[in-house]
Amino acid sequence: MSILVDKNTRLLVQGITGKAGGFHARSCMEYGTNVVAGVTPARGGELFEDKVPVFDTVREAVKETGCNATMIFVPAEFAADSILEAVDAGIPLVVCITEGIPVLDMMRVRAGMQGSHSRLIGPNCPGIITPGQCKIGIMPGYIHKPGNIGVVSRSGTLTYEAVWQLSERGYGQSTCIGIGGDPINGTSHLDAVKLFNEDPDTHAIVLIGEIGGSAEEEAAAWLAMHCKKPVAAFIAGTTAPPGRRMGHAGAIVSGGRGTAESKRKALEAAGIAVAETPAVMADTLIGLMKK
C-alpha cells in the first residue's frame, strides 16, 4: 500500500510537448508510470512518443482516457490557470512541478479550489513517487526502493539525500511527497503526515522542513496528539541570515518567526527525533525504530 498514487494511477501531463514536460513524461513512462494523455492547447490530435494522445483541453483528456492524476509542466505565467483547469475537470490529484509562480496567483488558486475535491501537490516541487509503482515528477527513480517509510519534504535534492540514505541502509519507502518550497502550496506537511498515519503500510515517517512559515510546527502539534508511528525530522536553514530569501520563495526568516530553532523546539516538544545534521536523517529514524 501507499498514499495517493499507485499502479492504478492514470497520468495526464499538462505541457507534454514542452522540453521539460516531454523529458520528464518520458522518464516517468520509463519508470513504469501509466501516462495516458497529454494536454497542450492547439496541439490536440498529436501523439507523444507515438502512443500518448495529446488533447487541447484537460476536460477532453479526462473524458477520453479516464486519467485520474495530472503532472503540470506549464511555464510559471500560465501555471495557475492550468491548475484551475485540472481542478475544473475534476482530476483528483494535481501535481504542479512548475517553479516561479507568483504568490498572488497561488493565493487565488487556493481560494478558487475551496470546495473542490481535488488535491494539489506543489507547486515548485519534485512531485510524488510510490516506489516500484508510480512516479509523478522529476526525482531520480532509481534511488527509491519499495518499503514502509513515508517521506514528506519541502525540498527536492534534500529529499533525494534522505531517500538515498534510507535505501542505502535497506529501508524502502511507501510513498515520498515533495510539497514544494513556495509560501503558498496545496498539500502541507500536516496533510501528508495525516495520510501517512492512516496508511497501514507506512510504519515510520521522515519529515523534512526548512525555515519560514509555521507548517512544520502545525504538523508537530498534530503528530503529538494523534500519531503513534516513529517520526524523524530535519530542518534546513539554521545558518540562514534573517530577511534573506534562501532560494525557495518560502525560505525566509522574518520578524524572528519561522527560524530553524523554533521549528526544532516544536518538533522535539512533540516527541519527534530531530536529526542534528542532514547526514544523519536516515540514522535518526532507524535509531528510533529500533527502540
Binding site: V103, R108, I138, G156, L158, A215, G237, T239, G247, G250
Partner: protein
C-alpha cells in the same frame, strides 16, 4: 528587490496614496529648484541609499547625518552639495558605506500622531493580512513582543479584496476620529490596491502620520516585491539599482544562479535550495563558516557551473570550496565538466572538496579523476563537510 525612498514616493503618488510632496535631485542646483517649487519653509533633504540608519550616519567627508531639515532653497542646495557624490556610512552599510548619487527634497510636516501600517501575505491562511498599530515610528517587533494588544490584524479575503467597511473598522480600531476617517480609509484602500497591482510581498508604512493640520499621510514606505512576479512588472524592474546590490549577487543573477553572500570563508556550490541551506548548516556544525549560499538549480548547464566557480574564487575571503551535488535532473557528469572547465579558466588557489552522488555519478567521478585537478573527495555529506572545514582552517606553524 529593494527600491529607493524617492521611488517608493513615486509609487505611492501613482496609486493616490497621500504623502508629503517632494522630488528627487541629482545636483545641488536641481535640489534648489525642487525646494523652491515646493514653496514652503519646512524642508527636508535626504540622502538616497538603500540602507537604513541614514539620519545617524556619517559621511566619509566628515559631514554628519544623511537626513537634514532646513528652511530655504539655498540651504537645501548647500545640504545637497555636502551629500551628493559622497559616501555615507550607517550601521547597515558596513564600513565601506554607500555612495550617494541622489537626494530627495521634500516638505517636512509637523506630526501629531504616528502609526504603523503594513500589508503582507499570511501563509497560514493563504491570504493578505493588514497588520497595524497605534504605536508607529518604532520597531514593530518590539511592540508585538511588549504590547501585543496594540497590534491590529485584519485578514482579507483574496477573492473579495479589502472591503470599504473593513477600512472603516480598521480606522476606528486605530483611533481615528470621525473628522479623519475618510482620509484614513482612502489611504488604506489605496495602499491595498498598490499591494495587489504591483505583486508586493510586503508594503510597510512606518510611520503613517496624522499632521497637526489633520492630514493623514504615508511618510515613509518600504516595499518588498515578489521576485516571481517581476516578469509582469517591467516598470518595477526599472527601479532596480544595481549599484546598491552585492556585486557577487548581481554577477550570479546574470547567470540565473541563486547566490547570497555571507561572512564566512568556506564557499559552497550546491544544487537545490534545501540541500544548499543544509550544506551551510553542516559546515557550521563542524566548526566552519559558510561564505555563501549558492544554488545552481535543478537543470544547470556546464557554463552555469563555470560561472558559479568564477564568482566563488573571485571572493578573496574564501579559503576552501565545497561542491555538494545530488544529481537528479542535474547530472553529475555535467557538474564534473563544469568544474574541470572552471579549473582551466580560473586560478584555483584554494582547496576544493567535491561530493557527488546521484544520476551519472560514476561518469562524473571518472571525469574528475582523469582531469588531474587536485581535489579532495568527500564520501558523503558529513565527510565532505569535515574535510572542507579542516582545509579552510589556518595551518599550524
Amino acid at each position: 528587490m529593494n527600491i529607493h525612498e524617492y521611488q517608493a514616493k513615486e509609487l505611492l503618488e501613482k496609486f493616490g496614496v497621500s504623502t508629503t510632496p517632494g522630488s528627487v535631485a541629482t545636483t545641488p542646483e536641481e535640489a534648489e529648484r525642487v525646494a523652491r517649487a515646493l514653496g514652503t519653509n519646512n524642508l527636508v533633504v535626504k540622502a538616497q541609499i538603500h540602507a537604513g540608519g541614514r539620519g545617524k550616519g556619517t559621511f566619509k567627508s566628515g559631514f554628519q547625518g544623511g537626513v537634514h531639515l532646513c528652511k530655504t532653497a539655498g540651504q537645501a542646495r548647500d545640504l545637497a552639495e555636502q551629500m551628493l557624490g559622497q559616501t555615507l556610512v550607517t550601521h547597515q552599510t558596513g564600513p565601506d558605506g554607500r555612495k550617494v548619487n541622489k537626494v530627495l527634497v521634500s516638505t517636512s510636516v509637523e506630526i501629531s500622531r504616528e502609526l504603523y501600517f503594513a500589508i503582507t501575505i499570511d501563509r497560514a491562511i493563504s491570504a493578505p493580512v493588514i497588520v497595524a498599530s497605534t504605536e508607529g515610528g518604532v520597531e514593530i517587533e518590539k511592540v508585538a513582543a511588549d504590547m501585543p494588544e496594540k497590534i491590529v490584524r485584519m485578514p482579507i479575503d483574496p477573492l473579495l479584496g479589502l472591503q470599504p467597511y473593513q477600512t472603516r473598522k480598521l480606522a476606528r480600531q486605530l483611533g481615528f476620529p470621525s473628522a479623519e476617517m475618510r482620509a484614513a480609509c482612502k489611504l488604506f484602500a489605496s495602499l491595498y490596491r498598490l499591494f495587489i497591482a504591483c505583486d508586493c510581498s510586503m508594503v510597510e508604512v512606518n510611520p503613517l502620520v496624522v499632521t497637526k493640520g489633520g492630514d493623514v499621510l504615508a511618510l515613509d514606505a518600504k516595499f518588498n516585491f515578489d521576485d516571481n512576479a517581476l516578469f509582469r512588472h517591467p516598470e518595477i524592474l526599472d527601479y532596480r539599482d544595481l549599484a546598491e546590490e552585492d556585486p557577487r549577487e548581481v554577477q550570479a543573477s546574470k547567470s540565473h544562479l541563486s547566490y547570497i553572500g555571507l561572512d564566512g570563508n568556506i564557499a559552497c556550490l550546491v544544487n537545490g535550495a534545501g540541500l544548499a541551506m543544509s550544506t551551510m548548516d553542516i559546515i557550521k556544525y563542524y566548526g566552519g563558516e559558510p561564505a555563501n549560499f549558492l544554488d545552481v538549480g535543478g537543470g544547470a548547464t556546464e557554463q552555469q557551473v563555470t560561472e558559479a566557480f568564477k564568482i566563488l574564487v573571485a571572493d578573496s575571503s574564501v579559503k576552501a570550496i565545497l561542491v555538494n551535488i545530488f544529481g537528479g535532473i542535474m547530472k553529475c557528469d555535467i557538474i564534473a565538466r563544469g568544474i574541470v572547465n572552471a579549473a582551466k579558466i580560473v586560478n584555483l588557489s584554494v582547496p576544493l572538496v567535491v561530493r557527488l552522488e546521484g544520476t551519472n555519478v560514476e561518469a562524473g567521478r571518472k571525469i574528475l579523476a582523469e582531469s588531474g585537478i587536485p581535489l579532495i573527495s568527500g564520501i558523503d555529506i558529513a565527510d565532505a563537510a569535515r574535510k572542507v572545514v579542516a582545509a579552510a582552517a589556518p595551518k599550524a606553524a
